[in-house]
Symmetry: C3
Subunit: 389 residues, 3 copies
């Protein structure tokens, strides 16, 4: 039996550990140096947040079952992947005013390396004609807790895996289940996220999904650079149009700046795989993101080059829709529909790079993907890609 299993949480069976530590010594034959540490965070806004730290001997990541299986931060040696939001998270959903009349209360919980936006909707807030919020920013899933959590070690594959189930549902509403598995192989710089969203209802259900992967210091500072096998690039609005020519660049810090949003269409290889690289200004560190273009037809780049005090940050966002209000997205046919019992799968790889050689290889890989493609850079927002155009 190469696989060893632990149920960390199962509300139906009354199983829940407030803290648990496992490591190589607990599993004969498993690779040295790994550990799984489950804790309940204490103090401040994180009071009561469940966290699971997975370490594979090289890479460490903190997963947040309480926040929809988001990834808080990851570490490769000294290098931290994530960003410094102007709040001290991770934030327990009890402190997130999702229903703030502004529609953007979601931001009070936003400080992760990776969080999901969805599932019934995501994108910009929308309001009814009478002023009531119709759709809050980025939906509910990032503030819903996992009701089941499972950890396994495979001694043959030399891998660790954490799987969590999170439900978004209620009477008269949808009944969607996210099953997310974060796995990694011993001593590897790569995290693999395999998600499945299933419609458990007897009725069809809407699905919107966007992975908000956020990077700031130390990786992303002025001088950082983005590499992607571009086919087409469309700016979201007039302000973002000013960044089209400099889409690969991260500018100097600028107080009170406006955000830039670019929509990218990416080339893929014969198997449909594509990659995007974020390279630090030192040209020796970076993050490589790899996924199937078919699973994520849209890729959004969000740049917030405000001073570090306010959270200099970029978002790399593979998605099945654009982050506009749901109504506009529905008009454009970008709201997916899951039949009763249907499921959709999503897979993402995040690889931390920490040498010039690794970066050179990643740049070459992306160049290869884009070989023969002449990127189309739109210098204006395009009809169907932004409202009011």
């Amino acid at each position: 039996m190469p696989r060893h299993d632990w149920i960390l949480t199962d509300v139906d069976c009354g199983i829940h550990h407030s803290s648990l530590l496992l490591s190589a010594a607990d599993v004969p034959g498993s690779p040295a140096g790994w550990s799984m540490c489950q804790t309940t965070l204490q103090g401040g806004l994180r009071q009561g947040v469940q966290a699971v730290d997975l370490a594979n001997g090289l890479l460490r990541v903190r997963v947040l079952p309480t926040r929809g299986m988001g990834l808080w931060k990851a570490w490769l040696g000294e290098m931290e992947l994530g960003w410094q939001a102007p709040l001290r998270g991770p934030v327990h959903p009890a402190f997130v005013p999702l229903d703030e009349a502004s529609g953007i209360g979601w931001l009070s919980g936003f400080d992760e390396l990776l969080c999901r936006c969805g599932l019934e909707w995501n994108g910009a807030p929308e309001f009814h004609a009478d002023g009531r919020v119709k759709h809050t920013l980025h939906g509910r899933i990032a503030n819903l807790p996992a009701h089941r959590l499972h950890f396994s070690v495979d001694t043959e594959a030399r891998s660790l895996a954490l799987r969590g189930e999170v439900d978004e549902g209620r009477l008269f509403g949808p009944r969607l289940r996210l099953t997310s598995t974060v796995s990694t192989v011993a001593d590897s710089p790569t995290l693999v996220i395999e998600d499945c969203v299933a419609n458990l209802s007897s009725r069809p259900s809407d699905l919107q999904l966007l992975y908000h992967i956020n990077l700031g210091r130390p990786l992303v500072t002025p001088g950082a650079r983005l590499f992607a096998p571009l086919r087409r690039l469309i700016p979201k609005d007039e302000h973002s149009a000013g960044d089209v020519a400099s889409w690969q660049e991260y500018p100097a810090e600028q107080a009170g700046c406006q955000e830039t949003v670019l929509f990218l269409d990416l080339a893929a290889d014969g198997q449909g795989r594509t990659s995007v690289l974020l390279q630090a200004a030192d040209e020796r560190h970076g993050l490589l993101l790899t996924f199937q273009r078919q699973q994520f037809p849209y890729f959004i780049v969000w740049k917030c080059p405000q001073p570090a005090a306010d959270g200099y940050v970029t978002g790399l966002e593979p998605a099945i829709n654009l982050p506009h209000g749901k109504t506009f997205e529905a008009q454009q046919g970008r709201v997916a529909r899951l039949a009763p019992g249907a499921r959709r799968e999503f897979r993402l790889e995040l690889t931390a790079l920490a040498s010039s050689a690794a970066l050179a290889q990643a740049r070459e890989q992306i160049a290869e993907l884009g070989r023969g493609v002449t990127p189309e850079l739109c210098d204006r927002p395009q009809p169907g890609w932004s409202p009011g155009v």
Copy 2:
């Protein structure tokens, strides 16, 4: 001293147990087989919910002090009383968006066998002319925690009782106190709920109250049947009017169905007692509900015959008002008014039945209550009973 007492929670005295187990062995002379188990639930949406399981040797019930002394589920041997909402509760109030702009965020916490709707208001959400929510669906009491909790065993009466106090109040608002006692006699199939609502304020206070008693699988499936000593039946709306002739029946599952709501006026015996029976399709299981007609002048039957995946469910709802918006109810004189210091009492009996004989006896009891009464079945909504009629 036949009565033995335990204070489980008293915030004024700093008393609170996160877990406590008592059983027959702890009380000399008490009946065999009972137990009281207090726990704090962990994981998922239930993180931090306090639960008290009372078992009398035959029947077991889980009471939720954190959710306004609601009853989560009850069990008689293999038979579960309750329903399968499309969420995994019980839900801590921190995860219930009561102030969602839709007005129906309350549904995110709704999965109990019995929850109270009230106290300052209940019923459908209402909105101000400017679009702001005026009254959210079903009020606040189901998401307020008990600040005092007391358990007792009476060796003479052979009974267990759990009493909790829940306050609904704030500066410039009401100051209503619900004191709820759930009791049961050893080896009895009956739970007795004795509630008192007191106005602790120096000003008069509104009171609306409805007991949402919800049943789904395994008791309520297509073929289940309702028995009630009907005097008059009024459908809530045109859709519900289609169910008047079949008011006793539970239909086949139907995806995307609309809910049916029927208002029942019930006959009572010489002491004012009346009963309603829900009989399972197997005609061997059921739930008998008994109460004073004077305490509950209205009885609402709610049918949601959607597929089990979405929560096939019926609500049996003794109430002091109809579940319309509070403004309409006030116009009809159905918002109670409690003078300063005044209190109102409510008593409900829930009896689980698990044999053909017990069901036959219950049917006969209801037939007896209705003897000599010719039920008036209104085939349309009635003025004063529904808005806009």
Copy 3:
């Protein structure tokens, strides 16, 4: 080393005590009789609220790191300082519906002796033209938890100090940090609150701040009396104008009464210090409040003489603005602006008095401050001091 230090909470370092007790025996050379008791409250609305009780041998105070470093109550021997709100707090923020559409959901958490109103805004709720809430009552800071908490004993100064840091911030929002230190000298009847608000953002930030110091039974009952070195007194509205002549008095309980709000301009001594005295009806107990007039240009007196059941209470409120909606305050130039990196400091002394002699001395001190000043009592609301005048 006269100072001994303990970190009670530091989320960055993973430090948090759910309970900790320190006392004189733990610090050689420290004054007898002091203690510091950190606990996590359990049950009811207080479930999960962190509380720190400081006792200096004479005075005891309960500080609430979970509620923005508010003071719940203080005790001098038998005398309790605080009030009896019509709810059983302290209330965990998870139970406070800040985003209730009424704009006043904040009141569901309001029961402290001292809470802060701010930081980005405070005052009456404001609504957008479309009905959406723009600013909720009294802002966010009272419902935000400290992420760092530090306790120290100084054996030379014979003092205890508790310092907490609370952040109000999020992406695209402000990034304000409150650092609050509550200190007291052994056997002294005085609490000193030293607060610093810093703008950690790279952009300028608004700041509104009001200290809501609330007193009810046993100190404030009909017959209690207020002393202040009055220069000018302005009623907030027509109703409050009726109280101008009786501004020092606390009236008989009155069910369903309207609140009275008076704006006071106070004289100060050569060092800018000023004081206000609340004297109990027995003329032997009281609370003396001392602060710098320059730090707090406004002083608001709020009287709510409703029956004790509903919370007979007065608020003494040193502030940097008036408690009107933020838009009106901004028009009047009463919204402070903090430059990036700037900070403002605030200091308050609360002294519990428990003898006729101490009260006489306090009255004399206030009389001295007001010597030579002829108070101007405005019998009507004044332009610029209230909207619509």
